[in-house]
Symmetry: C2
Subunit: 715 residues, 2 copies
């Protein structure tokens, strides 16, 4: 992708030099009063060079702004049309609009709210019900201690810069990103080297420290976008909304930035609820909050949003999945790390192959990738604009085993909508360790836990699972037994630090020390809590491998976490569903959302063809049977033309319209094909129900029932 752009930039620079050189030559000829034919020939050559330059410029412009030169423009126009419709029909609107709103907060109006509740109901059906997950519902208000343990209090930050005069705040990386993109797209004169540098900055944006970001901002002379004032150095801003719990003002709390922590802290109870068996998954749907520095892109980056998260707990030694075979043959766009590094694009891969080749770390992770693919495409996401992108090494947390994002392409580019991560044992350990310090031998933690000679904080709750052996097994265990008396004599007040450091050795370190002590009798040992080396003698610690009978294996389960940004999915679904088509008269473009019945906000409208008591009574009868059948619908008895009423409901994505034009039979019209069938009044509700419930397709209906032949009203 970058390759043609780079060569174009080089070609452009060369052509520019050639144009300049030729221009000089022409001027020299003129000055030297050369012959007219000679000058004319030179000018012709110059013009042809200019034409070539201009052609390269166009190609470069096209290369930097997408597949075609008008791509960015048409994307913008498409989005404008979709968003106008969405806001006008109250799918969503900026919150507190009469008070001029608050950036990053949106309301879902009636149709948006219905779409959202349909998406969540399907999520519950597809994941919670079909997988027998344990759904929980925890509060948003969270005490500080929980988010301290999870790392959010210390690390959930973005780097911010301030306009030094007005105090307006900006996200530092956004400013740098905008600067680089703008430069790359609009300034065709920059050299290929400069372009490569800017691209490198964009690629490594997430890795830049506050200092590095600040240096780049200075280097590029970036100023405050609104005022052009100088900017402060970048500094971290915590994205959690802070509050205070209770009346004393002494208990800080936060609005949760994710729902996952509520599940982790309940692991022990949930494991017990599941009969002390692994694997199992817990799930939660709920609000999450991030006090974004500068919210943008509508529903895509907001300050409050609905998350649906799954925490699948699994034995780290067995990440197979019983239902893996159900997804193994799915084939869809995947974008593994290697393809990204080598500049290729996403390609269709059979999920089973990705797992068996090790591209996807394990079966369970693969299973969830497949289930997410099914979930999104059944909602109506276009499978050709959906890809699963693997995190690059630098994107992934150090503890993560593997991580894939379901990215959906919309007018803003590829948007991360679902993250599917194998987070290993990180989260459960973080909460265990916040209580239980120095309990585990670090090196042995995964396998054999030994509480001997440790400081167990009694309030601590180790979040672990156990595999009971059918018969006891003999295992070799490393036992580090510090001799406290000797250590006390040698190190006095520092004894505790030394004991802890000794116990914290992993197997390799301990065995090396054992060997060294046996050969030399004394070793230098670094105690990090003291910040120095201390001499350890042979009589101060006993290190041995002992054979023990074990009845169970105790371990911290791995967590595989699919996390769904519901608002982002819904926004992308809106874009993928939106299209326009000319009106019957051809004088305007009509808006349509092609929502599948599953997500459509209203499944059906009922229209009396003309205002007439008889037809209205029939419409009410049908409405009643639709209500009984649980089909959300709307009656429209306004005197507006039937074509206008269809257009109005197409714009809400209503899949079916029942038009009452007799007291016996009615017409059912399908939104996208505009085809119509005749059905009896009694059957109408059931026909609609069977299609919206997915028991049959519109094609089945089209085959079974007589077609409406008198010409459809809106076509």
């Amino acid at each position: 992708m970058a390759a043609p752009e780079e060569s174009l930039r080089k070609a452009l620079a060369e052509k520019q030099s050639a144009v300049e050189a030729h221009g000089n030559a022409v001027r020299a000829l003129k000055a030297a009063k050369a012959s007219k034919p000679e000058i004319d020939a030179a000018i012709e050559a110059l013009n042809s060079l200019k034409l070539e330059k201009s052609s390269i410029e166009k190609q470069l412009q096209a290369a930097v702004s997408g597949s075609d030169g008008d791509g960015a423009l048409s994307r913008e126009a498409f989005r404008q049309a979709a968003v106008n419709t969405l806001e006008r029909r109250l799918f969503y609107i900026p919150s507190f609009k009469i008070y001029r709103g608050v950036a990053g907060l949106y309301d879902y109006g009636p149709p948006g709210c219905a779409v959202k509740s349909n998406v969540l109901a399907f999520w519950r059906q597809h994941f919670v019900l079909e997988e027998n997950m344990l759904e929980v519902d925890c509060p948003c208000v969270t005490p500080e201690v929980v988010l301290k343990a999870s790392g959010h209090v210390d690390k959930f930050t973005d780097l911010m810069v301030k306009d030094e005069k007005t105090g307006t705040c900006y996200r530092a990386d956004h400013l740098l990103k905008d600067f680089c993109n703008e430069k790359l797209q609009k300034d065709l004169t920059i050299s290929a080297e400069k372009a490569a540098e800017l691209k490198h900055v964009l690629a490594t944006l997430d890795d830049l420290s506050a200092e590095a970001l600040g240096a780049k901002i200075k280097e590029y002379g970036i100023t405050a976008p609104d005022t052009k004032n100088p900017l402060s150095d970048p500094y971290p801003f915590n994205l959690m909304f802070q509050t205070s719990i209770g009346p004393s003002g002494l208990s800080p709390g936060y609005m949760r930035p994710e729902t996952a922590q509520g599940i982790f802290v309940n692991f022990k109870d949930l494991y017990y609820y599941n009969g002390n068996k692994l694997p199992f998954a817990a799930a939660q749907i709920g609000q999450a909050f991030r006090n974004e520095i500068s919210p943008r892109q509508g529903l895509l980056r907001v300050r409050e949003f609905t998350l649906a998260e799954i925490e699948h707990f699994v034995d780290p030694e067995d990440k197979s999945h019983p239902k893996y075979s159900e997804v193994v043959d799915l084939e869809f766009l995947m974008f593994p790390r290697e393809e990204q590094m080598s500049g290729q694009s996403a390609k269709k891969i059979r999920l089973g192959d990705a797992v068996s080749k090790g591209t996807v770390n394990n079966e369970t992770l693969g299973y969830f990738i497949g289930r997410v693919y099914l979930f999104l495409t059944r909602l109506g996401i276009d499978k050709d604009r959906l890809r699963f992108r693997q995190h690059l090494a630098n994107e992934m947390a150090h503890y993560a085993a593997d991580c894939w994002d379901a990215e959906i392409e919309c007018s803003y580019g590829w948007i991360e909508c679902v993250g599917i991560a194998d987070r290993s044992a990180y989260d459960l350990r973080a909460h265990s360790e916040h209580h239980v310090k120095n309990v585990f031998d670090e090196g042995q933690r995964e396998g054999n836990i030994d509480f001997i000679g440790t400081n167990l904080d009694k309030s601590g709750v180790p979040l672990v699972a156990a595999e009971k052996f059918s018969e006891p097994r003999e295992v070799e265990k490393l036992v580090i037994a510090p001799v406290k008396k000797e250590l006390g004599l040698a190190f006095k007040g520092s004894q505790k630090n030394v004991v802890e450091a000794l116990e914290a050795m992993n197997e390799k370190e301990a065995l090396e020390m054992k060997a060294a002590l046996e050969s030399k009798g004394e070793v230098e040992f670094y105690v990090c809590t003291l910040g120095k080396n201390v001499p350890i003698k042979k009589n101060m610690v006993s290190i041995s491998k002992e054979k023990k009978k074990e009845h169970q294996r105790v371990f911290t389960p791995s967590v595989i976490e699919p996390s769904f940004g519901i608002g982002r999915i819904i926004y992308c679904l809106f874009e993928h569903s939106f299209y326009t088509r000319p009106s019957k008269a051809g004088d305007e473009q009509l808006n349509v959302f092609r929502f599948p019945p599953l997500v459509a906000p209203i499944k059906c409208t009922v229209f009396p063809l003309v205002q007439n008591q008889q037809y209205e009574d029939v419409a009410k009868v049908i409405s009643k049977s639709l209500t009984t059948a649980g089909i959300s619908h709307k009656i429209d008895i306004t005197g507006t033309s039937i074509g206008k009423r269809y257009a109005r409901t197409d714009e809400l994505g209503v899949p079916f319209a029942i038009t009452v034009d007799s007291t016996k039979d009615v017409t059912i019209r399908e939104r996208d094909s505009k085809l119509q069938v005749r059905v009896s009044v009694e059957e109408a509700a059931l026909v609609v129900k069977s299609v919206t419930d997915g028991l049959r397709t519109w094609e089945d209906v089209w085959e079974k029932y007589p077609h409406h032949t008198s010409g459809s009203a809106d076509d």
Copy 2:
């Protein structure tokens, strides 16, 4: 209710005096060495008096603690049994338990979460879908300006006292309430007058000012419950969780204390969405937050909870409801204001009678009371422990037209679970007025709005509706036209204040001024924004009544608001559904929740009778068809006895169990009757589905299918 208690207290005091007098008499006889028969007779009389006193004591004890003397105790024991089961089976648990929890925050575990989601789904069906309400979904984070306008920033407070030494905070009214209740229930020696005083305090608790509360606390010598330290004076504590929106720290915000405001600020858009027609209702389900000073009573008083609110907007001149006839014949416990004042108890009233007699203010309010009754009883709330209590005059906001609470009786007493209030035009006006100051002539606001000669704050959004007249109507309108030139000459810089004050006159004031100006030529006029009188001359203002043709009537709609505390409803439902019955062997009490299928967390369990591959395969086939039918269920293939497995699922309130004991037919057992029928493997899922969907009853099934005769396993 109070009457017998009062007379008992009097009788007890008299009997006590009699006992004392008689005691003295006996002592006097002894001192006077009276004859033994004489003394014996006196002692006998004394003992009989003591017996009478003790009997009155018992009656009094019974009267103060409920219907019978053991009432309080058994209520406590019942609650303990229910709550133990609820917490053990993870219906709900204190949040963040491994960190010792936070008062007033609870998690719903898997079965509780399922019950909650069933309750909300039914709420959506019963209200939103059946009434075609406009559902919206607004953020929890709310900017200060919105809650300033609604009055929450200034008035959403509770009075708090602090332990003067430790700083621990308490709700002042709770301490006073606890003191009075304790005194009334445990101290039988207090006089009838004292008892009456304490009861009066309890009855007027909500009306007490900070000063009055503080005075009572001092008078009764109430101290901090834990330390007995002295308490501070009461002072108001705002119950909203405060936070800050955006990075600047300059935009205060709160977590919403109710969902209603999100609807009110969107009134204009929603009215438009509804085709500019009234009445219509908007609805919202979502989290709300109250930073309670001292949360208590489990799920009943918490710091974060789910609200489901309806705002039904209606023309104040026409509060009829098209579907009123559907509820008019419902009969249930109502507790009108009068009955409360006269010490009677709630009684069964036909809803239609309550409305036609004016006990319930209007049809629409009555309609919603009826719908709430149907909603709660269909969920499984016992209709004999549900009453609709009208607010007393002192409980109701000054603007409210009428207000009824659906109260459910549980072990904590009668709990307000749904509030149904006619809030008149208060809320919409509050938001309109926050922008549009001095726009409306106060006196004319309800009728004719005139924007002429007013200062319309351009950002203001009047939240009003309009009734278009079929033909123009002639109306007489008051027109106040200040003559700015003259006023400018007379008042210079204060001109604007005078103009605004003139325009703000109501009809009566204006007509008085007109008369005075005509008779005297000049009047003194108080301008509140100047804080003084100014002289107004005849040439400074023209006041006239003009006849105008009007094409519409513009007005602020009334709001009728049913507001549901979902957590409270669920807790009461738990208590109403809970019972125990002896095990087969009679050696223990088994817990059962008699949830109707509609709310049961899992609809069905599937048990292979014994561990056996064939049966397990059949169980899997049935499980698959249950999943397809959308029936939440669980397979239990543990080797536990079938009786134990039934007990385990009864405790979760699972209504049906399918036991696989052959490969052709299976047994379906109903939870409460423990009756069993034989059904083919193919039919099993459909039978369960038809009953859980309410298409037929268990009785229908019992009639249709052969009974399981080999004796039920758990009975």
